[in-house]
Symmetry: C2
Subunit: 338 residues, 2 copies
C-alpha cells in the first residue's frame, strides 16, 4: 500500500466516520421527534409532565408510586377533543331529532324539538336546560344499548364539525393522545371521566384514545333489563341515572375506580372537584387544565365558552400547584392526523 492509497483510505475513513456521526445524530433527533410528547413544545408544561412521570416511576426515589396506583383521569370534551361551539353529543342529538322527526309528527307541539328541526339555535337556547334535557332524553332513550351504540357510530362516520369541516373523531388533540400514550408506556391506567354520556363515548373512544370501554366513565341514563323472545336486553330509559360532572366526577372516580388518581387533566371549572380530589392525596400529584388560547388552529375562549367557564380554574392555576396547558404556546400541532 503506497502513501496515496493510505491517504485516500484515511480520507475515506474520516468521511465514513463523519457520515456515521451525522447519521447517528439524525437518528437521535428522529427518535426525539417521534418520542414521547413530540407534539409538545419545550417549556414549563412539558417539563412538568416529564418531571412528574420521572419522579413517580423512579423506584429508588421518594416520590415513587407503584404501577397499580398510577391512575390518571382525563375529562373528554375540550380536554381530549373539540368542545366548541357545542358539545359533540349535543350536535348528535340535534341531528338525531331531525332524522327521527318524520316518524314523530307529535314533536311539532314541543318548542325545543321544533326549534331543533327548524335549525333555530336561538329558540333552542330559549328552551333552556329543560328543553335540552327533553332533546337528550328523546334522542338517547327508548332503544337497547346496542342500538344506541350503533346510532352513535353511524352518525360519527359521516357527521362533520360545522366550522372545522372535519369528522369529529379527527378533532381529537394529538398532544393529549401522546400524553395518554406516554402515561400508558409508564404503566399508568388511563381513564376518561367525562360529563358526556358513557354510552356516547364508548363506541369510539377506545379507537381514538386507546382507552378500553371499561376505563370510560361518564353520565348515564337508567337502563332496564328485559327479556324478549328468551333473550335479555338492556333498554335505555328517558331518566337520568348519574351526572358525571362537577362534584360527580370525584364521586364517580370513587364509585368506578375506587382509587384516587395521581394525575388529572381537565379544561373547565366543572373539572375542579376531580382535580381537587386528585391533588388531595398524599405523595406527588399532577393537575393540569387545557386552556383554549388558539383562535387560529382551534378556538380561543379563555374564561368563558358557550359550554362552560374556566374562571376558577385559571385563578387556581395562577396561585400555583395546578398547571395551565396553553394550547397556542404548548402545542406544536393541535389535531391528530388520521
Amino acid at each position: 500500500m503506497n502513501r496515496v492509497h493510505r491517504a485516500t483510505r484515511s480520507r475515506f475513513q474520516v468521511l465514513a466516520f463523519s457520515f456515521a456521526a451525522i447519521f447517528a445524530v439524525s437518528l437521535c433527533s428522529a427518535a426525539n421527534a417521534a418520542g414521547p410528547l413530540a407534539s409538545w413544545n419545550d417549556g414549563p408544561t412539558k417539563t412538568a409532565i416529564l418531571e412528574f412521570v420521572a419522579a413517580v416511576t423512579e423506584k429508588s426515589g421518594k416520590d415513587y408510586v407503584p404501577p397499580e396506583d398510577r391512575i390518571a383521569t382525563f375529562d373528554n370534551d375540550g380536554t381530549l377533543w373539540v368542545e366548541a361551539p357545542l358539545y359533540t353529543q349535543i350536535m348528535f342529538a340535534f341531528d338525531r331529532v331531525k332524522a327521527m322527526a318524520p316518524d314523530h309528527p307529535e314533536w311539532k307541539d314541543k318548542p325545543a324539538l321544533e326549534a331543533v328541526m327548524d335549525g333555530d339555535m336561538k329558540a333552542v337556547a330559549r328552551a333552556g336546560k329543560k328543553g335540552l334535557v327533553e332533546i337528550l332524553m328523546i334522542t338517547h332513550a327508548g332503544m337497547t344499548t346496542e342500538e344506541f351504540a350503533k346510532a352513535v357510530s353511524d352518525w360519527l362516520a359521516s357527521a362533520e364539525h360545522p366550522k372545522l369541516k372535519r369528522k369529529y373523531t379527527d378533532l381529537t388533540f394529538q398532544p393529549m393522545k401522546e400524553l395518554i400514550a406516554y402515561l400508558q408506556d409508564n404503566d399508568f391506567k388511563t381513564y376518561i371521566v367525562s360529563g358526556g354520556g358513557v354510552e356516547f363515548m364508548r363506541p369510539w373512544a377506545p379507537g381514538a384514545y386507546n382507552i378500553p370501554p371499561e376505563q370510560v366513565i361518564g353520565s348515564s341514563v337508567v337502563t332496564e333489563f328485559r327479556m324478549k323472545d328468551g333473550k335479555p336486553m338492556l333498554v335505555r330509559q328517558p331518566k337520568v341515572f348519574f351526572i358525571d360532572d362537577k362534584e360527580g366526577k370525584a364521586i364517580a372516580i370513587q364509585k368506578f375506580i375506587g382509587r384516587r388518581p395521581i394525575a388529572s387533566f381537565g379544561n373547565a371549572d366543572h373539572d375542579i372537584p376531580m382535580i381537587q380530589w386528585t391533588l388531595a392525596g398524599d405523595r406527588r400529584r399532577l393537575g393540569m387544565i387545557v386552556h383554549h388560547t388558539d383562535a387560529e388552529r382551534e378556538f380561543a375562549y379563555d374564561r368563558k365558552s358557550i359550554v362552560g367557564t374556566l374562571d376558577k380554574g385559571i385563578d387556581r392555576a395562577q396561585k400555583g400547584g395546578w398547571h395551565l396547558i396553553d394550547m397556542a404556546k404548548d402545542w406544536k400541532t393541535v389535531f391528530a392526523e388520521q
Copy 2:
C-alpha cells in the same frame, strides 16, 4: 482410559440419565399438582372449564376470543367465599351496631337496632327488610369513604365466623381462587359483580382474590363531595344509590364494564340475569353456579338458604347449557390456606 474406567463412566452416565429422567418426571407431576385448578377433582365441571379456556384462547380455532374481550364476572357471597348462615356484611353491621351503641342511647327506641344489641336474631328477622335497611344505613353511612374502609379492615382483622371459627378472609374458596388465577393467566380480566357493598369488598378483595379495586362492582350508597379545611372528602349518605343484585347485575356490567362477559359464575337465583346476559352474546360462553352440597366441609343448603334461593338456577342447569359446580364432588379442598 481403560475398559473399567469406560464402563464406570458409562454406568455413571446411565445413572445420571435415569436421575435426570426421574427428576424431569417428578417436576412434571409437581407442575400438574400445583398447576391450574389443582383443588378441583377431575370430572365434567373441571373439563368444561378447561375446554372453554382452551377454545377461546386457541388463536386458529373457531371460538377464539381476543384477550381484550375475555371478561369474566364472579358473584362474591356464596360464590367466592362463605355466605351462610348470613352474609358477612350483615355480621359486620350487627357487630358495628353493638360497637356504636354506647354512643347512641336513642337507638333503644328502634326495635331492629335493639334486637341486634340484644343478640335476638328472631326479633331481627321480625323487623324484616325495613329493619335490615335501617341497620345497614346506620352502620354504613355518616362517615367518609376512607373511614368506612378502615372500619371494614379493622373488623375483618379480628372477627370470626360463628360456626367455622375462622377469620372471614380465611373462608374464601380455594378452587375459585385457582379458577380466577387460571383465567387471569389466560389473559382474562376478572371482575367481582356482587350484591354486597362495593366499599365493603374493596378493602380486602384485592388481597383475597388478586382482583384490583376497579374490578370490584357492588351495591353502593349515595356519597356527597364536601370540602373541610380546604380538603375534599366523600361522605357516605344513608341513601341507596344502586343495588347490584338480580337484574341490577346485568345493568351494572354494562354501566361499569361496557362489554359483555364471556364467562360468569354465581351461586343463587339472583345471579341468573348476569348469567343470562353473559350467555346471550355470540361466540362461545360459560355460565356456572356453585351448588352448596357440602354439609361436612361448608354448608349444604341446596335450593333454599337463609340468604336466597337456587330454585331456578338448578332447574336451568338441569336443562343444560349452564353448569352446576357440586362443592362436595368437584372440590378437593374448600377453603384457601392462609
